[in-house]
Amino acid sequence: MESGTDQQTASLANGGKEAYAIRLRGLTKRIGSQLIFENLNLDVFRGEVLAVAGGSGAGKSVLLRTVLGLMPFESGSIEVLGSDLSTVEGEERTSIERRWGVLFQDGALFSSLTVLQNVQVPMREHLNLPLKTMNELARLKIAMAGLPANAAHKFPSELSGGMRKRAGLARALALDPDIVFLDEPTSGLDPIGAAAFDRLIRNLQRTLGLTVYMITHDLDSIFAVCDRVAVLADKHIVREGSPRELVQNPGHPWVREYFCGERARLIEKAS
């Protein structure tokens, strides 16, 4: 794996705004009287896999939901694919939403629809395609997400946790997005399932040229698939860099404990 800094320079060399998939500047958010983020800055470059790590309650999920527009924020700016999300509305907003896909923690599949229908939901909503094409495309996405063909006609309640995640990923990929958001993609999976899911993410990222923003606790995932890690602590991003850089130079107590602990050392040695 090449280091993240090489890629940053490569991306930056490609020029200006288009190098950033997501750009957060001076983000401040409170819930009630509690300050969640204070002057938070974060860049996600195109074509990279970024992991957002942090302790429980650090606000990783809140940050994701804020970027997705599911939660309001007080001040600062969120720029996705070159447009400032706080200013775009209506059609323009929808056209940005079409360019991202989200995998929620337990897949968040619609329980009354089969997997095939779930994958077709974004296509029905945003495009006007003949049913045959939608069926073909949805089956393709289901196969690309690593599900067997007979899973297409099952309901979410008939799937295991790992399969629900794969089905959720198939739905997130339905419209060939540019950015994919993953919320703890490997949580609740056994180590073998988690490793398979990591490989799947890596493969799809390469094949489809995706930018991946993922929340994760999983050190294995971080070392296996991530180009860069951003660590969320003390209400802002305290460290950014490739996993190796953070191991060599943690620079923050939480990062040191996380990346230089017993478990991290074993994984790093193995990788």
Binding site: A149, H153, R206, G209
Partner: protein, 390 residues
């Protein structure tokens, strides 16, 4: 890793590069040159641009699909290309001048498409319908069996509690009486008061044709005490308490609390089911009494308004019409009805499986089954009691 050039462009915009296709017969080989953007956004144009398999000359030694001038490719475009290659000659046709980022995508799509194509089971609507119909029919039988088994289990647990009274959960029992009985008093009273009034009004109106308006009081008295009071109270309790039991026990089942109880050596039937059912058996007769009184009160008010009968006269007439027998006939049903409501509510709760959705399904099932069984039981009692001369 280099970010592919593809991601630098907006794949979702309507492209400036229309998808195009040109057939150029070379010496010996047929070459199909593709150009433009092949994406989901312009999929119609992509399909229009592709030649049908008839237009591709037959008998050529080699078919080459030239992708040199292809701009942007996404999965939809790649799928179209892969199936086009299949349709014109399978492995005899091959892609040439493929850009590396297109090649990864085409290979992956070809792999996934063949995986998707194999063993996609077709749905069989008629067979599925018959299967569903039969399983719905047998479900009634299975329900009856499981309810009977559950009655047995509960009786056994009740027996154990009677043998060792220290096991009895007194606090839960009193709490359940409050929840199922006391808090139901306002709604049961209101409903019975209104229905009593309606029975009185409708009865008087019809009987007026025969000049026998006052017989409406006889009708009200007998109907309220024998049937209406107990049915209304039971239906209200089935709606309130059967659903509450299912939701409470179902939530515990969903969060594995029931399993935790079993591993700790606590019998969930003894702790959760027995107090609830006993509480209902105590509370429902009391509610039936309240319901009876409120029905009669509603009738009394209506007779004053509608028939201009003063309350003392109404009471006199009522006293002549009904005997204690009618009251007991209504009351004797209450504990049995309570048992059925409690059993159905608790059983459906224990049937909840892992998901929150299943709690909702089971609550609905509990209410429907409880009300249905209340009415069936009432009908059986009506036949039985009148046959035995009550």
């Amino acid at each position: 890793m280099r970010p592919p050039a593809v991601s630098m462009l907006n794949r979702h915009a309507i492209s400036e590069y229309h998808p195009g296709c040109r057939i150029a017969p070379d010496a010996g080989a047929v070459r199909i040159e593709l150009s433009g953007d092949w994406t989901l956004a312009v999929l119609e144009k992509v399909h229009a641009a592709l030649p049908s398999s008839r237009e591709v000359p037959k008998g050529a030694q080699a078919l080459e699909i030239d992708l040199a001038r292809l701009q942007i490719l996404d999965t939809a475009g790649a799928l179209t290309l892969v199936s086009f290659r299949e349709s014109i000659g399978g492995t005899a046709a091959r892609f040439i001048n493929v850009r590396p980022e297109h090649k990864i995508l085409l290979d992956e799509v070809a792999r996934a498409a063949s995986a998707a194509a194999e063993a996609a089971p077709r749905s069989q609507p008629i067979a599925d319908f018959i299967r569903r119909f039969v399983s719905a029919l047998t479900a009634i039988g299975r329900d009856a069996i499981s309810l009977t088994m559950f009655l047995g289990e509960t009786s056994a647990a009740l027996g154990r509690v009677i043998a060792r009274p220290s096991k009895f959960r007194g606090t839960a029992f009193i709490h359940q009486i409050q929840m199922t009985g006391l808090t139901a008093v306002p709604i049961v009273s209101l409903v019975c008061f209104l229905i009593g009034g309606v029975i009185m009004q409708q009865g008087a109106r019809q009987l007026r044709n025969f000049g026998a308006e006052t017989l409406a009081i006889d009708m009200l008295g007998i109907l309220s005490l024998r049937e209406v009071g107990v049915i209304l109270a039971a239906v209200m309790v089935a709606g309130r308490s059967a659903s509450a039991f299912t939701a409470q026990i179902g939530t515990m089942k969903m969060r594995e609390e029931i399993d935790a109880m079993r591993t700790l050596g606590i019998d969930p039937i003894e702790t959760l089911v027995v107090p609830r059912i006993l509480a209902l058996i105590v509370a429902l007769p009391l509610l039936v009494f309240v319901a009876d009184i409120m029905c009669l009160a509603g009738g009394a008010v209506m007779s004053k308004v509608y028939l201009a009968l003063d309350t003392p006269i109404f009471l006199q007439r009522l006293n002549a019409a009904v005997t204690a027998k009618h009251f007991y006939v209504g009351l004797i049903k209450a504990p049995f009805v309570a048992l059925v409501i409690g059993l159905v509510g608790c059983l459906e709760g224990l049937r909840v499986t892992g998901s929150a959705e299943s709690v909702g399904t089971q609550v609905t099932a509990a209410v429907v089954k409880a009300i249905f069984l209340v009415l069936v039981l009432d009908a059986i009692f009506a036949i039985f009691l009148s046959a035995s001369g009550f």
